[in-house]
């Protein structure tokens, strides 16, 4: 993610509103990060369909996704996102994976898969002193 803070990332935004115009969340009557970009206070950085259309249409090249990720880390997550996080930290997958996975695969004629070995997730995601990957 960008090393710049939100204020720096917002520098080139002219609040033209194009991002908000193409946002599916806004079209559904709710308020996303694009409302924040337009100077509104009523929005949630979590209300997003991850379609990236806002950033794609921005004439100024504002890194809207990076801004959204920074804002998310300051805002309370919805339970669905939090559950996925907990699951990834615990098992390496966003959804529950157990032996049933391979039973279903065999039923469908697919080869069984080898899941991530125990202990790997902790090794990959452990906080490292002085590192930039610690959240």
């Amino acid at each position: 993610m960008s090393g710049q803070n939100v204020i720096e990332l917002l520098k080139s935004c002219t609040q033209c509103g194009l991002c908000r115009e193409v946002c599916i969340v806004e079209q559904l009557g709710a308020h996303s990060i694009t409302s924040f970009l337009c100077g509104e206070e009523d929005y949630s950085s979590w209300l997003c369909s991850s379609c990236w259309r806002c950033q794609e249409v921005c004439p100024q090249g504002v890194q809207i996704h990076a801004i959204m990720m920074k804002k998310r880390r300051e805002e309370e997550p919805p339970s669905g996102h939090e559950a996925n996080l907990v699951s990834v930290l615990r098992s390496g997958y966003a959804l529950l994976m157990d032996s049933d996975i391979n039973s279903a695969r065999i039923f469908h004629g697919l080869e069984p898969v080898q899941l991530i070995p125990p202990g790997y997730v902790e090794m990959l995601l452990e906080e490292r002193e002085g590192g930039t990957t610690g959240g």
């Binding site: 997003c48 919805p78 996925n84 997958y93 695969r105 080898q114 990959l124 590192g131 990957t133 959240g135």
Partner: protein, 280 residues
Amino acid sequence: MTKMALFPGCLVLQRMPQYEKAAIRVLGELGIQLENMPGAACCGAPLESFSDRWLSLAAYNVSLAERLGLDIVTLCGNCTSTLLRAKAALVDPDLRLEANEPLEKLGLRFEGSATVKHLVEILTENLDELAQKVTGELPWRVAVTHPCQAYRPHEIALFDDPLQPKAMSRIVKATGAEVVHYDAEFDCCGSTLYLANERLGLEAGRRKLASAGRADVLVDACGNCQLLLERFRGLMPDGGGADGIVVLTLPQLLGLAMNIGADELGVGPATARALAKKAA
């Protein structure tokens, strides 16, 4: 036979063996053999909202393919973008060093050499072979929904028109089927939005299905799209606003055009009956 590493992602791995099965079968017909990636984990996307450590998980997955000496095929837009954006971020020598530190303890190394391509891109590269394998024109009017993050951000995806992609329509046209365009064609399905707000996610999907209602079949090429538009359709207030439109994954449709049996493509008997009725 070209070999590639298949990265199914959590959603397809856990809930959609049918999509994976059809993708393996259809790419096999085109001379591309998909290999499992033993030990592959989540792409890293769910971590990104909380921590920069998502890069470590993405680097791990890419390094597994590199150990096999294979390039990666993805089935979800989100996994595609996550792995590609991680590869782009890990060009930075400090970030790469940091990502490789735990990988080396596991006997792995992220080099950034494996390419990551979504299924739609692979099919686009093999369009002539695909057309040759089609045995007869499909009798349905087909609408397509695009895996947003296989095209965006464009500077990372480097594939197709980022706002109005055409690849999926071209692929469906190669089967001889009629492609039906609709107002909400380029709108997102709403699947990720469902995670934050179920009502809004389902409403996005309902609008999409209602808009595509003139078609017989709606095809997607992403676990997220298939989840919301097909599996969650019953949760929508009016069952998706499009009575009887059949939702298939792209390789399932292509397999049918190659005269591969519905059961070999993970197309269930009820769906096969609905398709037969549409053709009548």
